[in-house]
Symmetry: C2
Subunit: 417 residues, 2 copies
């Protein structure tokens, strides 16, 4: 007897960034944060195969688990501050932890199938088609995917964002679509620190997201470890929590409801900058943005002039997420392609949604916009607001529980559907 | 009749950074700041030749003035916010402005020689032996030098830091040696915003300064324009002014008086980081530090481990100033030379004070300290606390008023005296 489920999860991009976790064990944000979810073309895929009565499948399980570990190894999924030894064997404890949570929750809600799962073997395979450990919330998408899949398996209905949060703080945001709130909650256990949808993706269908993946040799610090350091050492964070974020959350909500791109863009950029400011104010300082990121920021401000046609945000990494309205997308992409020419090894420079790009030459550009050195960007991914995790038909594991491709090629070049 | 004066001025390095000018016209800092001055080996040289009864020397004057402009053109010396047109012809207005101030002050204090100067021609020649426009306060050193020289010319004695401030905000600090306070003052005209010496250079003779000049193609925004933007747009600056700086000033003063290097170093690094944090929080954000600067910061923290043997500070540029005690200098330099190998075009990689450097190889280094790509740093300059501007014997102009070398070679390679 075998049960399979396959889910594509979404990547989420913080607009007003939650920086800082209140407490270690239950991952609760210091702040309410507002998140935009991007569509499934920027996705993480997970398959869980649960097999019964199969003895001695250890070798295979180890292989499958390894695939999952590949995703999360660059992130700190262990509760911050807990003894490291406990989470040394991360893969197993992870599976146990999340699974037991799902089982507990299923029992609580009287879900039908959980009892059949006791004592079973879990084959987990996870792949993602965007860079991990690069501040694009891959671990969040991974956990959201895993929890969503497990919930489907155990027949758990309803809100699973609280469970997802226990795996990776921001994972609770990835289980929903559109614009999402991550609430701080008031319970010390974190049980009310959940995500809720502010507006669905259909509210602003014209909004486009362009991810600029930069070429970087730099090793990044995992975002959870970084956040811990910032909470402990940044003096400026106190001001950010007390003053800046609360007023910005209100303003950006208003901007989203009104679909006021100028206001939305300016607040998003300012909050991204302030997030990185408190990272720099940490001790030792955290530098997530690099020279390529700085070049993108300067490009956006030069492109905009006194208007706001495009806005940037950077999570805990050097890659940029740009926001732009559909009507301005093709001109933006054309200008980016001119100013940031691809390197020699850039195949499929432009990925995601297909866009017709007009020809741009120097005379179309603003004064001072010169092409940068080739290859500063690895590639661009065009996407739009996400609609949340979805069960899809494709599988990552064979019906025997073996991974189909341990190192599958990226699927980002495939046409948008 | 001819009068000449030649002065070497000092470069100053802000420890607790004053960021933000209260008002445009009289350059008054928003904050009291504490500055360390470095010795004259990191110097700016200026010569003023005043010639009488010389008709039609325009061509020569133009050449001399041009040399002076070369120094200041990359800086905003015009009062921030004033109509740009007024300062279009920067060289002339500059000379006039500073000269008239010196004359006025001389008149006020009854200095003897000022009347002889009326209607004379000024030949000004200025050279510096460290990078301009790179956040090493070259314009401050330049103005300090010019004002000090002019004061000598007109026979003005006593405090000239208030006059120097009118040229470049931080120039008032460069006219003194040792550790210097720049006071905010309370007068709206800025007349009491002057610099005073906290302790002379002789207080901490063991302190060494290592300037790491990074290879950078990046164009920097002038520090005055940048500060204006930060004051106008950074929300975090308010917290910095109200909370962080006042307490840090007290603590670092204590650390300096006690010669407590650990405390001194930690505060210096934290304040540098916070300064750059509020720069990043500006809108559009200001990125003075680049990938090379980040590599230096990470290097220092790795080198220190749990101790503080070396500390960094970055002004409005990508170059680093490191502080270290004499006893640890040679090991630090050896490690830097290993981790940051010189590029092919680096001549005289190590400049300034002569230091015997022990051999270092990989086994001497801490885990994870790998050599970076060659040429990340252009060169290193070793110096110590400065003793203030000094009249020296060498001249930049011939007695006829012509510049000796319009593009003179750097003298930084010459032995320390």
């Amino acid at each position: 007897m075998r049960h399979t489920s396959f889910v594509k999860a979404i990547c989420c991009i913080a607009l007003i960034k939650y920086l800082g976790l209140l407490d270690a064990a239950p991952l609760i944000p210091l702040l309410l944060s507002l998140i935009l979810t991007s569509d499934i073309d920027l996705c993480l895929e997970a398959l869980v195969v649960v097999s019964w009565n199969v003895s001695c499948r250890d070798a295979r399980i180890a292989r499958c688990i390894r695939a999952e570990v590949n995703l999360t190894i660059s992130h700190t999924v262990a509760p911050v501050g807990s003894p490291e030894a406990v989470f040394k064997d991360r893969a197993k404890s992870l599976s146990r932890c999340v699974m037991s949570l799902v089982l507990a929750r299923a029992e609580l809600t009287g879900a039908a199938r959980h009892k059949n799962l006791l004592g079973c073997h879990l084959h987990i395979c996870s792949e993602n088609n965007f860079p991990t450990g690069a501040g694009l919330a891959s671990s969040a998408a991974g956990y959201a995917c895993l929890v969503f899949t497990l919930a489907k398996l155990v027949g758990l209905e309803g809100d699973i964002s609280g469970i997802a949060r226990l795996g990776s703080g921001s994972a609770c945001r990835s289980v929903l679509g559109g614009f999402v709130h991550w609430h701080k909650g008031s319970s010390p256990t974190g049980c009310d620190s959940v995500a809720t949808q502010m507006v669905p993706a259909s509210h602003w269908p014209e909004l486009r997201i362009v991810i600029l993946v930069v070429n970087s040799k730099q090793k990044m610090m995992g975002s959870s470890l970084g956040m811990k350091r910032t909470v402990e050492t940044s003096e400026l964070l106190r001001y950010r929590i007390a003053e800046s974020v609360p007023s910005r959350i209100n303003s950006i909500e208003e901007a989203i409801r009104e679909k006021n791109f100028r206001k939305f863009g300016e607040l998003t950029m300012k909050d991204s900058n302030q997030f990185h400011a408190v990272c720099v104010d940490s001790f030792p300082p955290l530098f997530y943005m690099n020279d390529a990121s700085h070049a993108i920021v300067n490009f956006v401000h030069m492109y905009n002039g006194t208007d706001v046609q495009v806005a940037y945000t950077f999570d805990a990494g050097s890659n940029a997420c740009l926001f732009v309205l559909e009507e301005n997308l093709s001109n933006l992409l054309a200008t980016i392609s001119y100013v940031f020419p691809p390197g020699n090894d850039s195949v499929e420079y432009l990925r995601g949604m297909p866009v017709t790009i007009p020809h741009v030459d120097k005379s179309d550009l603003k004064l001072g916009m010169e092409p940068k050195e080739a290859g500063l960007l690895k590639h661009l991914i065009v996407t739009r607001l996400g609609t949340g995790p979805q069960v899809v038909e494709d599988h990552l594991l064979t019906t025997a529980g073996d991974p189909k491709h341990l190192a599958r090629e990226t699927t980002l070049g495939t046409p948008w559907v």
